[in-house]
Amino acid sequence: MKMEEVSMSSLDNSKLEGLAQDILSDLVEDACLGLCFEVHRAVKQGYFFLDDTDQESMRDFEIVDQPGLDVFGQVYNQWKNKECVCPNCSRSIAASRFAPHLEKCLGMGRNSSRIANRRIVTGNNTNNKSESDQEDNDDVNDNDWSYGAEKKAKKRKSDKVPFIFIVKFKSINITHTHISVCI
């Protein structure tokens, strides 16, 4: 059927109005059906009654709007001025800086300065052969800090560098540490 068959002559105003009402009625029915299917699905999936909570328990989750408290009602910034004592060097460190400090202090990060620090403490004694040997051994046995212990041990065996090399490398490390400390 073509639209051309629908002519204005066959449509007086009341018919047109009736048609409009019918279309609206269809749309409303569609909306009702849609809701019914939506609810039914929610019931069968088990989430329809999830938003049914009693006033009592809802009160626990209300957003707190008071000065000095965050939305959960906890004291805001309560950790701001807290300090932690480093178990390694016994210095007090601001809580927010503690993790990065500990990483450096224990020599776990890539900017590890533990060996260098210890050398500074013992008086920049880079040419002391026995001490360097000791430290080297310490490093080799230091496997408990890493998960790839075996791998590392193997690697160490393979890269046996002449002693003089190690000393040079370590002194570079020291100067590097000094610079970062000064800044």
């Binding site: 059927m1 449509l11 279309i23 029915e29 009702c32 849609g34 809701l35 019914c36 329809f48």
Partner: protein, 96 residues
């Protein structure tokens, strides 16, 4: 088929083809959410479900219980707005 029902079928066809039916549906849906119709009906659904039992309630149960109420609860302002759009469409497309 009478001329009247032919005309109705043609208009409805046009309504769908032009995408106007989907647009009207979407407008209505949004309005019904906005005015709280959906929440009211959902609350009614909860009563029906409690009565029939969570395990046993069917879509048919919901449709029979909810549709009459749903029709009655559509605010006049929403009806009026939708009717205006529908009339405008009819005026444009039923006069070829």
């Amino acid at each position: 088929m009478s001329k009247d029902s032919q005309m109705r079928a043609a208009i409805n066809q046009k309504l769908i083809e032009m995408g106007e039916r989907e647009r009207l549906k979407e407008v209505l849906r949004a309005k019904l959410v906005e005015c709280g119709w959906k929440d009211q009906l959902k609350a009614h659904c909860k009563d029906v479900i409690r009565e029939k039992g969570l395990e046993h309630v069917t879509v048919e149960d919901l449709v029979t219980e909810v549709t009459p109420k749903g029709r009655a609860l559509v605010p006049d302002s929403v009806k009026k707005e939708l009717l205006q759009r529908i009339r405008a469409f009819l005026a444009q497309h039923a006069t070829l």
